[in-house]
Symmetry: C2
Subunit: 274 residues, 2 copies
């Protein structure tokens, strides 16, 4: 039987990770769960995020038979990866460590900037993962970026201005700390939709440029390395996708296609309690 | 015994309603619950919002002895007022009807604009309440405003630009429908913090001006009318405030003081399940 890869996010952003996974494993079977009734995780506490994420992971493993889990949510990866690994009997991959590895491969100065949600930044999970790879990281919470993406303003002058303000504050802080950053990690799965705009802002604001690391791409690469050797033989002839959400399936279908870059159909509603 | 007024919101915004209530009933006893573990309600479905709001209302009535409930959340008022009224044996006041009454009192043309969250607008609860008062209303979802307030950008050029864009779209739609609006209802309890900026934008963009209706003030007026005649005799010598939240009490204390315009201390964590 074809093994199932479970992909979990608090909302729609993790579909950028699913998209990167489908590109690399076009014949795998995927079950994606968006815990949309309880999003966003980014503004909540560790205890609450861990409780929600464990329930979601258990649904994918127990009810959907996932044999491998990708936590396609930076906040849940930062705050609940250990709790999820303890709660399910399958391999679990988060997005932080692959992002830090990709930053190490990209950076020449060893100094890295990270933009993410409030909860991810407060956890300092990226700083810790970067430090383990010999990198110095400055992190910044950018709470307006997710709402701007969800409003569809991914190519809007207001969004460019907000990005410029956040990046100015971040680079000023890095300079104050004596860092010479050459790499920017997108520590939230919504941010890849801002990549074209962000590269324009960087080109006009940062003379020497900056390499942008998309953690969605980084985690998909890591998942293929971990998952493929054992499982590639059992891949089915065509990709199989199932989508689950804990709230409005209509909204999931409507917004989700922007992140997945293909239509998201037949989303199934699930009740995780609460 | 002094009766308790229960005040409920999904988050912090309802503290603008509590502030307006304390101004009018400085000697009452209040219990405020912010369901911060599950916020924001504004992007969720009716079914989910009703479930969360009923659990929250039951906590205030059963565990805190509230004898009167104010639903200081436009989304919950729009989508769950009936469900809450069915679930608890005390009078329940929402924010929509008082907002519509205040608009009727203010408007000369009978044409009204409403700005609110996605879920409030999709419910068309303001349009229905306005229609019942003989008003015509055009509603617009403004999903960026809550994050801008929570980022603390209440006096920021980006926020002014976002307000200008939203108001331009709204007045263009009103003109297309043949309406001559002279009143703008703030259909979200976060928006009163934007009132100074909003009045500047209106002054520069709308030649004839516009009356701004703050639904927090409107619901406090209505609560005093409903609550006071029976209960005023039992008021205690000084206001008594208790605060409850379903997630991080530190964040509640930190952000809440902006909305309440006084320090919020001793927030108690409660678990409503989920």
């Amino acid at each position: 039987m074809t093994p199932t890869i479970g992909v979990f996010d608090s909302g729609f952003g993790g579909l950028t990770v699913l998209r990167a996974l489908i590109q690399r494993l076009p014949q795998a079977r995927f079950a994606f769960l968006g815990d949309t009734a309880r999003l966003p995780y980014g503004s909540k506490s560790r205890r609450t995020i861990a409780r929600y994420a464990v329930q979601s992971a258990q649904f994918l493993v127990r009810e959907q038979g996932a044999e491998f889990l990708v936590i396609a949510c930076n906040t849940a990866s930062a705050l609940a990866l250990d709790a999820i690994q303890d709660a399910v009997p399958v391999p679990v991959l988060g997005v932080i460590e692959p992002g830090a590895e990709a930053a190490r491969a990209a950076s020449r100065t060893g100094d890295v900037l990270v933009i993410a949600t409030d909860a991810t930044v407060q956890s300092h999970a990226y700083a810790a993962a970067c430090r383990a790879h010999g990198l110095r990281a400055i992190e910044k919470a950018c709470p307006l970026l997710v709402p701007l993406v969800e409003e569809g303003w991914t190519d809007h002058p207001v969004t460019a201005e907000v990005l410029r303000i956040y990046l100015d504050e971040l680079t000023a802080e890095a300079a104050f700390e004596g860092l010479k950053p050459d790499t920017l990690v997108l520590g939230c799965t919504h941010y890849p939709l801002l990549r074209p705009l962000l590269e324009g802002v960087i080109a006009s604001a940062v003379p020497s440029g900056m390499t942008v690391i998309d953690s969605a791409e980084a985690v998909a690469e890591a998942a293929v390395r971990l998952f493929c050797p054992q499982q590639a033989a059992a891949l089915s002839p065509a990709a199989q996708l199932r989508f689950f959400a804990t709230d409005s399936v209509e909204k999931f279908e409507r917004l989700g296609s922007r992140f997945l870059e293909r239509p998201v159909g037949n989303v199934e509603l699930v009740d995780l309690g609460g």
